[in-house]
């Protein structure tokens, strides 16, 4: 299937269309909203489902050398992508060192909903993928935060007052963030209980999954549209361009990293999607503690209002095409 066919098929999927509906409704100032508690519940459901299914897959396949190599590649990419992003942002934009570090952290970390959208696209092509990629997603969440923190501290050494608290609070925030706990916890439960456990709760975590994903994407469209309406004035053209180009740079790096590894085409597409995605739940919360001077309007708008829609609509088909080169 050509790249154009993949893109067209992706653009008319219910998920992308519900996201577009939310985006259009917010931009048109509709009163359509999803309550905060519902949005949080939907996000937890998605983490639970995706974690559990990944764990059940690993229970079947066991821990392999490939899994460990891909995890290592993911950790290294998560750590170095913020450095590349930071250098690029400082070179092309007028962002302060702290803002550049905070923005870059989002691009080194991952977005689980972009990953889920990638899974739907991969399954839509009838491609199998390795279940352990959920574990890869979990280990890629946090190295970027540490990397960005080191970059920011190089630019602005912390005062004696805030250093101790930042370190302690950040370790707790990063390690025990709700999305990480839910994803890793569900993965471990899925791993422990295997396909039998999955069969027991499939009517809850498998069957309604796509409908709930559509509802969550509607919500993301609403939040992204609201962010674009309010936050666009904070994004200069170079920063906006970064939101599109950086995922492509990350995707290219992921493709190179996959060359010697031998993932399946579906697995490779998902690994590239993970690397190219930008966090919008775990990292923004961590940045409010670690780098509170950084402006949230910049990194939230860029991650959710620019990079997420780009990945959802155009990035994922492109990553599928890249994966066909390096997947086996």
């Amino acid at each position: 299937m050509s790249l154009l066919d993949l893109a067209t098929q992706n653009l008319v999927s219910p998920m992308v269309l519900f996201f577009a509906l939310g985006l259009a409704a917010a931009l048109a100032r509709s009163d359509l909203t999803i309550p905060e508690a519902v949005a949080k519940t939907l996000a937890l459901y998605l983490m639970m489902s995706i974690g559990f299914k990944g764990g059940a897959e690993v229970a079947k396949s066991g821990i392999t050398a490939l899994m460990l190599w891909v995890m290592l590649a993911g950790v290294i990419l998560s750590f170095i992508i913020p450095v590349i992003g930071y250098v690029a942002l400082r070179a092309v934009s007028r962002l302060s060192p702290v803002d550049a570090a905070a923005v870059s952290a989002h691009y080194g970390s991952i977005s689980i909903v972009t990953f889920v959208a990638g899974i739907e696209a991969v399954q839509g092509q009838g491609l199998p993928f390795e279940g352990f990629l959920v574990a890869v997603a979990a280990v890629m969440e946090t190295p970027a935060i540490l990397s960005a923190l080191l970059l920011a501290r190089r630019a602005r050494p912390p005062s004696r007052d805030d250093e101790g608290e930042s370190a302690g609070a950040l370790i707790r925030e990063v390690g025990l963030n709700a999305s990480v706990v839910m994803l890793v916890g569900s993965f471990l439960i899925g791993w422990a209980t295997g396909p039998k456990g999955l069969a027991m709760i499939a009517p809850f975590i498998v069957d309604p999954f796509r409908g709930i994903l559509c509802l969550f994407l509607l919500d993301m469209g609403l939040v992204a549209g609201r962010g674009m309406r309010e936050g666009a004035k904070h994004l200069s053209p170079p920063v906006l361009a970064f939101g599109i180009i950086m995922p492509l740079v990350s995707a290219a790096l992921a493709t190179l990293a996959l060359m010697p590894l031998g993932l399946s085409v579906g697995g490779a597409a998902l690994f590239i999607t993970l690397t190219a995605s930008a966090s919008y739940i775990a990292v923004p919360a961590a940045m409010r503690l670690a780098l509170p001077e950084a402006k949230p309007a910049i990194y939230l708008t860029l991650s959710l209002g620019v990079t997420f829609p780009f990945n959802l609509a155009l990035g994922i088909p492109l990553y599928l095409a890249l994966a066909s080169w390096v997947g086996r």
Partner: protein
């Protein structure tokens, strides 16, 4: 007639990710209690914001209300400010009357 006593009411609007830091400081400062209230939406120096639809804590604010004895208010405020100096937030202090003075 009910006798009332003068106390200080601290009203702190703080970013949700920094809430635990703030409540830890309030506990350390020896306040006898506080109440956490969700806030929905508002407008600040960076424009309007709303908690609706947010799946994460960044971008969400909460309000913490604490009644303290006037003698302790300055010390509590110093602790509060040590957390909030770098965060988004608003701190106000006002005089209030309470009925049960020994609770605060």
């Amino acid at each position: 007639m009910v006798v009332t006593h003068l106390k200080k009411r601290l009203e702190i609007i703080v970013e949700a990710p920094a809430l635990h830091r703030l409540t830890d400081r309030l506990n350390q400062a020896g306040v006898t209690g506080y109440t956490i209230v969700p806030v929905l939406a508002g407008r600040g120096s960076d424009g309007t914001w709303s908690a609706e639809g947010l799946a994460g804590d960044a971008g969400r604010l909460v309000m913490v209300i604490s009644i303290v004895d006037a003698a302790k208010a300055d010390a509590v405020l110093e602790r509060v400010y040590s957390v909030l100096a770098r965060q988004i937030g608003i701190v106000t202090v006002s005089d209030v009357q309470v009925i049960r003075a020994d609770h605060f």
